[in-house]
Symmetry: C2
Subunit: 189 residues, 2 copies
Amino acid sequence: MVKRKELHDKKVSEKTIEKGLLIVHTGTGKGKSTAAFGMAMRAIAHGQNVGIVQFIKGPWHSGERDVLNKFPDQVQIHAVGEGFTWETQDRERDIEVTRQGWETAKKLIADPSVRLVILDELNIALRYDYLPLEEVLEILNARPDDCHVVVTGRNAKPELIEAADLATEMTLLKHPFRAGVKAQAGIEY
Amino acid sequence: MVKRKELHDKKVSEKTIEKGLLIVHTGTGKGKSTAAFGMAMRAIAHGQNVGIVQFIKGPWHSGERDVLNKFPDQVQIHAVGEGFTWETQDRERDIEVTRQGWETAKKLIADPSVRLVILDELNIALRYDYLPLEEVLEILNARPDDCHVVVTGRNAKPELIEAADLATEMTLLKHPFRAGVKAQAGIEY
Protein backbone atom coordinates (compact mmCIF):
# COMPACT_ATOMS: atom_id res chain seq x y z
CA MET A 1 0.00 0.00 0.00
CA VAL A 2 2.84 2.37 0.75
CA LYS A 3 4.25 2.12 -2.71
CA ARG A 4 0.99 2.93 -4.37
CA LYS A 5 0.48 5.97 -2.11
CA GLU A 6 3.99 7.22 -2.82
CA LEU A 7 3.48 6.82 -6.52
CA HIS A 8 0.22 8.72 -6.23
CA ASP A 9 1.84 11.58 -4.28
CA LYS A 10 4.64 11.76 -6.83
CA LYS A 11 2.11 11.80 -9.63
CA VAL A 12 0.20 14.63 -7.93
CA SER A 13 3.30 16.72 -7.18
CA GLU A 14 4.42 16.51 -10.80
CA LYS A 15 1.19 18.04 -11.99
CA THR A 16 1.76 21.76 -12.10
CA ILE A 17 -0.88 23.14 -14.41
CA GLU A 18 -3.64 24.94 -12.54
CA LYS A 19 -6.68 25.43 -14.71
CA GLY A 20 -10.40 25.63 -14.51
CA LEU A 21 -11.75 22.15 -15.02
CA LEU A 22 -14.71 21.13 -17.11
CA ILE A 23 -16.38 18.29 -15.24
CA VAL A 24 -19.26 16.17 -16.54
CA HIS A 25 -21.54 13.93 -14.47
CA THR A 26 -23.63 11.78 -16.76
CA GLY A 27 -25.28 8.35 -16.91
CA THR A 28 -28.68 7.09 -15.85
CA GLY A 29 -27.71 6.44 -12.22
CA LYS A 30 -28.19 8.54 -9.12
CA GLY A 31 -25.67 11.00 -7.74
CA LYS A 32 -25.05 13.30 -10.69
CA SER A 33 -26.67 16.38 -9.14
CA THR A 34 -26.00 15.31 -5.55
CA ALA A 35 -22.26 15.05 -6.23
CA ALA A 36 -22.37 18.49 -7.87
CA PHE A 37 -24.22 19.82 -4.82
CA GLY A 38 -21.49 18.26 -2.65
CA MET A 39 -18.86 20.05 -4.74
CA ALA A 40 -20.75 23.32 -4.25
CA MET A 41 -20.72 22.83 -0.49
CA ARG A 42 -17.01 22.02 -0.56
CA ALA A 43 -16.25 25.14 -2.62
CA ILE A 44 -18.27 27.20 -0.13
CA ALA A 45 -16.19 25.73 2.69
CA HIS A 46 -13.07 26.90 0.85
CA GLY A 47 -14.53 30.42 0.79
CA GLN A 48 -15.27 30.32 -2.93
CA ASN A 49 -18.31 31.70 -4.70
CA VAL A 50 -20.60 29.34 -6.58
CA GLY A 51 -23.08 29.94 -9.38
CA ILE A 52 -25.76 27.42 -10.22
CA VAL A 53 -28.13 27.30 -13.17
CA GLN A 54 -30.79 24.63 -13.03
CA PHE A 55 -31.94 23.81 -16.54
CA ILE A 56 -34.72 21.54 -15.28
CA LYS A 57 -36.81 21.72 -12.19
CA GLY A 58 -36.42 18.57 -10.18
CA PRO A 59 -32.97 17.23 -9.38
CA TRP A 60 -32.20 20.04 -6.95
CA HIS A 61 -34.87 19.77 -4.34
CA SER A 62 -35.83 21.83 -1.35
CA GLY A 63 -33.19 20.14 0.79
CA GLU A 64 -30.32 21.31 -1.37
CA ARG A 65 -31.76 24.77 -1.84
CA ASP A 66 -32.34 25.21 1.89
CA VAL A 67 -28.70 24.45 2.61
CA LEU A 68 -27.35 26.57 -0.22
CA ASN A 69 -29.58 29.48 0.80
CA LYS A 70 -27.75 29.55 4.13
CA PHE A 71 -24.80 31.02 2.23
CA PRO A 72 -26.38 33.87 0.28
CA ASP A 73 -23.07 35.76 0.02
CA GLN A 74 -21.41 32.85 -1.75
CA VAL A 75 -24.12 31.12 -3.75
CA GLN A 76 -26.36 32.25 -6.60
CA ILE A 77 -29.02 29.82 -7.80
CA HIS A 78 -30.89 30.50 -11.02
CA ALA A 79 -33.74 28.22 -12.04
CA VAL A 80 -34.59 28.23 -15.72
CA GLY A 81 -38.18 29.36 -16.08
CA GLU A 82 -40.17 29.56 -12.90
CA GLY A 83 -41.38 26.06 -12.22
CA PHE A 84 -40.21 24.96 -15.63
CA THR A 85 -40.50 21.19 -15.86
CA TRP A 86 -40.33 20.48 -19.59
CA GLU A 87 -44.00 19.69 -19.55
CA THR A 88 -45.39 22.64 -21.40
CA GLN A 89 -45.08 20.95 -24.78
CA ASP A 90 -44.40 24.44 -26.03
CA ARG A 91 -41.04 24.01 -27.69
CA GLU A 92 -40.64 27.69 -28.49
CA ARG A 93 -41.17 28.73 -24.90
CA ASP A 94 -38.86 25.98 -23.67
CA ILE A 95 -36.13 27.14 -26.03
CA GLU A 96 -36.65 30.73 -24.92
CA VAL A 97 -36.31 30.02 -21.19
CA THR A 98 -33.39 27.67 -21.82
CA ARG A 99 -31.70 30.49 -23.71
CA GLN A 100 -32.25 32.82 -20.74
CA GLY A 101 -30.63 30.23 -18.48
CA TRP A 102 -27.71 29.89 -20.84
CA GLU A 103 -27.17 33.66 -20.92
CA THR A 104 -27.04 33.58 -17.10
CA ALA A 105 -24.57 30.68 -17.28
CA LYS A 106 -22.33 32.69 -19.62
CA LYS A 107 -22.33 35.62 -17.20
CA LEU A 108 -21.45 33.35 -14.26
CA ILE A 109 -18.58 31.76 -16.20
CA ALA A 110 -17.25 35.18 -17.15
CA ASP A 111 -17.60 36.55 -13.60
CA PRO A 112 -14.13 36.55 -12.00
CA SER A 113 -15.64 36.33 -8.51
CA VAL A 114 -17.31 32.98 -9.29
CA ARG A 115 -15.00 30.00 -8.93
CA LEU A 116 -17.44 27.15 -9.57
CA VAL A 117 -20.34 27.14 -12.01
CA ILE A 118 -22.79 24.24 -11.95
CA LEU A 119 -24.96 23.80 -15.03
CA ASP A 120 -27.42 21.29 -13.73
CA GLU A 121 -29.18 19.19 -16.38
CA LEU A 122 -27.63 21.20 -19.20
CA ASN A 123 -27.18 17.83 -20.93
CA ILE A 124 -30.95 17.52 -21.29
CA ALA A 125 -31.18 20.92 -22.93
CA LEU A 126 -28.46 19.88 -25.37
CA ARG A 127 -30.08 16.55 -26.02
CA TYR A 128 -33.33 18.22 -27.08
CA ASP A 129 -31.42 20.76 -29.19
CA TYR A 130 -32.74 23.61 -27.08
CA LEU A 131 -29.27 25.15 -27.30
CA PRO A 132 -26.71 24.91 -30.11
CA LEU A 133 -23.96 22.51 -29.02
CA GLU A 134 -21.27 24.45 -30.88
CA GLU A 135 -22.00 27.64 -28.97
CA VAL A 136 -22.05 25.83 -25.63
CA LEU A 137 -18.75 24.09 -26.34
CA GLU A 138 -17.18 27.35 -27.46
CA ILE A 139 -18.07 29.11 -24.20
CA LEU A 140 -17.11 26.14 -22.03
CA ASN A 141 -13.76 25.72 -23.80
CA ALA A 142 -13.03 29.43 -23.38
CA ARG A 143 -13.76 29.40 -19.62
CA PRO A 144 -11.34 31.41 -17.46
CA ASP A 145 -8.43 29.53 -15.87
CA ASP A 146 -9.86 30.02 -12.41
CA CYS A 147 -13.41 28.88 -13.18
CA HIS A 148 -14.46 25.28 -12.81
CA VAL A 149 -17.63 24.24 -14.63
CA VAL A 150 -19.69 21.16 -13.74
CA VAL A 151 -22.30 19.94 -16.23
CA THR A 152 -24.80 17.31 -15.14
CA GLY A 153 -27.49 15.24 -16.77
CA ARG A 154 -27.89 11.93 -18.51
CA ASN A 155 -27.00 11.47 -22.18
CA ALA A 156 -24.06 13.87 -22.26
CA LYS A 157 -23.07 14.63 -25.85
CA PRO A 158 -19.87 12.81 -26.89
CA GLU A 159 -18.39 16.16 -27.93
CA LEU A 160 -18.91 17.49 -24.39
CA ILE A 161 -17.22 14.44 -22.85
CA GLU A 162 -14.41 14.94 -25.33
CA ALA A 163 -14.02 18.55 -24.18
CA ALA A 164 -14.18 17.62 -20.46
CA ASP A 165 -11.20 17.27 -18.14
CA LEU A 166 -13.06 14.90 -15.86
CA ALA A 167 -16.11 12.89 -16.83
CA THR A 168 -17.91 10.38 -14.66
CA GLU A 169 -20.75 8.11 -15.62
CA MET A 170 -23.16 7.16 -12.86
CA THR A 171 -24.70 3.82 -13.70
CA LEU A 172 -27.74 2.43 -11.96
CA LEU A 173 -27.09 -1.04 -10.63
CA LYS A 174 -30.24 -1.26 -8.51
CA HIS A 175 -33.11 1.13 -7.79
CA PRO A 176 -35.53 0.96 -4.85
CA PHE A 177 -38.57 1.90 -6.96
CA ARG A 178 -38.23 -1.51 -8.54
CA ALA A 179 -38.65 -3.04 -5.12
CA GLY A 180 -41.81 -1.09 -4.26
CA VAL A 181 -40.26 1.56 -2.02
CA LYS A 182 -41.60 5.10 -2.11
CA ALA A 183 -39.51 8.27 -2.37
CA GLN A 184 -38.39 9.55 1.03
CA ALA A 185 -37.29 12.89 2.46
CA GLY A 186 -33.52 13.21 2.63
CA ILE A 187 -32.96 10.41 0.17
CA GLU A 188 -34.92 11.19 -2.96
CA TYR A 189 -35.39 14.92 -2.30
CA MET B 1 -43.04 14.44 -21.95
CA VAL B 2 -46.36 14.79 -20.09
CA LYS B 3 -47.16 11.14 -20.39
CA ARG B 4 -43.83 10.05 -19.05
CA LYS B 5 -44.17 12.42 -16.06
CA GLU B 6 -47.68 11.17 -15.32
CA LEU B 7 -46.50 7.60 -15.46
CA HIS B 8 -43.66 8.49 -13.13
CA ASP B 9 -46.00 10.19 -10.64
CA LYS B 10 -48.32 7.21 -10.75
CA LYS B 11 -45.40 4.86 -10.21
CA VAL B 12 -44.23 6.93 -7.23
CA SER B 13 -47.68 7.19 -5.64
CA GLU B 14 -48.15 3.43 -5.85
CA LYS B 15 -45.02 2.85 -3.82
CA THR B 16 -46.15 2.76 -0.24
CA ILE B 17 -43.42 0.96 1.65
CA GLU B 18 -41.32 3.30 3.76
CA LYS B 19 -38.12 1.69 4.83
CA GLY B 20 -34.53 2.51 5.59
CA LEU B 21 -32.59 2.14 2.38
CA LEU B 22 -29.22 0.52 1.94
CA ILE B 23 -27.42 2.57 -0.69
CA VAL B 24 -24.08 1.70 -2.27
CA HIS B 25 -21.81 4.05 -4.23
CA THR B 26 -19.08 2.08 -5.92
CA GLY B 27 -16.89 2.09 -9.04
CA THR B 28 -13.53 3.66 -9.81
CA GLY B 29 -14.90 7.07 -10.79
CA LYS B 30 -15.27 10.26 -8.79
CA GLY B 31 -18.36 11.26 -6.84
CA LYS B 32 -18.87 8.31 -4.51
CA SER B 33 -18.02 10.20 -1.30
CA THR B 34 -19.07 13.60 -2.65
CA ALA B 35 -22.56 12.31 -3.45
CA ALA B 36 -22.76 10.81 0.06
CA PHE B 37 -21.63 14.15 1.49
CA GLY B 38 -24.37 15.81 -0.58
CA MET B 39 -26.91 13.39 0.89
CA ALA B 40 -25.67 14.24 4.37
CA MET B 41 -26.21 17.94 3.70
CA ARG B 42 -29.66 17.23 2.33
CA ALA B 43 -30.60 15.18 5.39
CA ILE B 44 -29.35 18.01 7.62
CA ALA B 45 -31.57 20.41 5.71
CA HIS B 46 -34.52 18.12 6.47
CA GLY B 47 -33.66 18.41 10.17
CA GLN B 48 -32.35 14.85 10.37
CA ASN B 49 -29.33 13.61 12.31
CA VAL B 50 -26.44 12.08 10.42
CA GLY B 51 -23.68 9.72 11.55
CA ILE B 52 -20.53 9.27 9.50
CA VAL B 53 -17.75 6.73 9.92
CA GLN B 54 -14.73 7.22 7.68
CA PHE B 55 -12.94 3.92 7.23
CA ILE B 56 -10.06 5.56 5.37
CA LYS B 57 -8.54 8.97 5.71
CA GLY B 58 -8.70 10.79 2.44
CA PRO B 59 -11.96 10.99 0.53
CA TRP B 60 -13.53 13.35 3.08
CA HIS B 61 -11.30 16.36 3.11
CA SER B 62 -11.18 19.52 5.11
CA GLY B 63 -13.81 21.14 2.91
CA GLU B 64 -16.45 18.55 3.74
CA ARG B 65 -15.55 18.43 7.40
CA ASP B 66 -15.64 22.22 7.74
CA VAL B 67 -19.16 22.31 6.37
CA LEU B 68 -20.39 19.35 8.42
CA ASN B 69 -18.84 20.80 11.57
CA LYS B 70 -21.14 23.79 11.18
CA PHE B 71 -23.97 21.48 12.26
CA PRO B 72 -22.59 19.88 15.44
CA ASP B 73 -26.08 19.15 16.80
CA GLN B 74 -26.96 17.07 13.76
CA VAL B 75 -23.72 15.48 12.58
CA GLN B 76 -21.28 13.06 14.18
CA ILE B 77 -18.11 12.24 12.27
CA HIS B 78 -15.90 9.38 13.38
CA ALA B 79 -12.59 8.77 11.64
CA VAL B 80 -11.20 5.26 11.96
CA GLY B 81 -7.82 5.57 13.70
CA GLU B 82 -6.45 9.07 13.99
CA GLY B 83 -4.81 9.83 10.69
CA PHE B 84 -5.23 6.22 9.63
CA THR B 85 -4.31 5.95 5.96
CA TRP B 86 -3.77 2.22 5.40
CA GLU B 87 -0.07 2.83 5.20
CA THR B 88 1.10 1.25 8.42
CA GLN B 89 1.59 -2.18 6.89
CA ASP B 90 0.54 -3.41 10.31
CA ARG B 91 -2.39 -5.60 9.46
CA GLU B 92 -3.28 -6.35 13.05
CA ARG B 93 -3.46 -2.69 13.99
CA ASP B 94 -5.45 -1.96 10.83
CA ILE B 95 -7.94 -4.67 11.67
CA GLU B 96 -8.19 -3.39 15.23
CA VAL B 97 -8.99 0.21 14.29
CA THR B 98 -11.34 -0.95 11.55
CA ARG B 99 -13.16 -3.00 14.17
CA GLN B 100 -13.46 0.07 16.41
CA GLY B 101 -14.95 1.98 13.47
CA TRP B 102 -17.39 -0.83 12.79
CA GLU B 103 -18.51 -0.91 16.43
CA THR B 104 -19.21 2.83 16.14
CA ALA B 105 -21.12 2.18 12.92
CA LYS B 106 -23.28 -0.42 14.65
CA LYS B 107 -24.12 2.04 17.42
CA LEU B 108 -25.07 4.73 14.90
CA ILE B 109 -27.30 2.31 12.98
CA ALA B 110 -29.01 1.26 16.21
CA ASP B 111 -29.44 4.86 17.44
CA PRO B 112 -33.08 5.86 16.81
CA SER B 113 -32.09 9.55 16.65
CA VAL B 114 -29.80 8.97 13.64
CA ARG B 115 -31.64 8.89 10.33
CA LEU B 116 -28.70 8.56 7.92
CA VAL B 117 -25.49 6.61 8.48
CA ILE B 118 -22.64 6.99 6.00
CA LEU B 119 -19.98 4.29 6.05
CA ASP B 120 -17.37 5.91 3.90
CA GLU B 121 -14.91 3.52 2.24
CA LEU B 122 -16.32 0.55 4.11
CA ASN B 123 -15.95 -1.32 0.82
CA ILE B 124 -12.16 -1.08 1.12
CA ALA B 125 -12.23 -2.58 4.62
CA LEU B 126 -14.34 -5.44 3.27
CA ARG B 127 -12.11 -5.92 0.27
CA TYR B 128 -9.06 -6.41 2.47
CA ASP B 129 -11.01 -8.71 4.79
CA TYR B 130 -10.51 -6.34 7.71
CA LEU B 131 -14.11 -7.08 8.68
CA PRO B 132 -16.13 -10.25 8.19
CA LEU B 133 -18.59 -9.70 5.35
CA GLU B 134 -21.23 -11.93 6.93
CA GLU B 135 -21.34 -9.84 10.10
CA VAL B 136 -21.51 -6.58 8.16
CA LEU B 137 -24.34 -7.86 5.96
CA GLU B 138 -26.22 -9.13 8.98
CA ILE B 139 -26.14 -5.73 10.69
CA LEU B 140 -26.94 -3.81 7.51
CA ASN B 141 -29.86 -6.10 6.67
CA ALA B 142 -31.23 -5.71 10.20
CA ARG B 143 -31.09 -1.89 10.09
CA PRO B 144 -34.10 -0.11 11.59
CA ASP B 145 -36.88 0.94 9.21
CA ASP B 146 -36.11 4.60 9.73
CA CYS B 147 -32.35 4.40 9.19
CA HIS B 148 -30.79 4.85 5.78
CA VAL B 149 -27.26 3.53 5.33
CA VAL B 150 -24.90 4.65 2.57
CA VAL B 151 -21.78 2.59 1.90
CA THR B 152 -19.08 4.00 -0.37
CA GLY B 153 -15.86 2.75 -1.92
CA ARG B 154 -14.67 1.02 -5.02
CA ASN B 155 -14.90 -2.75 -5.42
CA ALA B 156 -18.14 -3.24 -3.52
CA LYS B 157 -18.68 -6.91 -2.74
CA PRO B 158 -21.34 -8.50 -4.97
CA GLU B 159 -23.16 -9.68 -1.84
CA LEU B 160 -23.41 -6.07 -0.64
CA ILE B 161 -24.81 -4.91 -3.98
CA GLU B 162 -27.24 -7.79 -3.80
CA ALA B 163 -28.38 -6.61 -0.36
CA ALA B 164 -28.64 -2.95 -1.43
CA ASP B 165 -31.85 -1.16 -2.37
CA LEU B 166 -30.01 1.34 -4.52
CA ALA B 167 -26.57 0.84 -5.97
CA THR B 168 -24.74 3.19 -8.29
CA GLU B 169 -21.45 2.64 -10.04
CA MET B 170 -19.38 5.72 -10.74
CA THR B 171 -17.20 5.07 -13.76
CA LEU B 172 -14.30 7.23 -14.75
CA LEU B 173 -14.59 8.34 -18.34
CA LYS B 174 -11.81 10.94 -18.20
CA HIS B 175 -9.51 12.18 -15.43
CA PRO B 176 -7.58 15.48 -15.38
CA PHE B 177 -4.45 13.93 -13.84
CA ARG B 178 -3.95 12.22 -17.17
CA ALA B 179 -3.82 15.63 -18.80
CA GLY B 180 -1.19 17.04 -16.40
CA VAL B 181 -3.49 19.07 -14.17
CA LYS B 182 -2.77 19.27 -10.46
CA ALA B 183 -5.28 18.75 -7.65
CA GLN B 184 -7.10 21.94 -6.74
CA ALA B 185 -8.92 23.26 -3.68
CA GLY B 186 -12.68 22.84 -3.94
CA ILE B 187 -12.39 20.25 -6.67
CA GLU B 188 -10.11 17.48 -5.42
CA TYR B 189 -10.35 18.34 -1.73
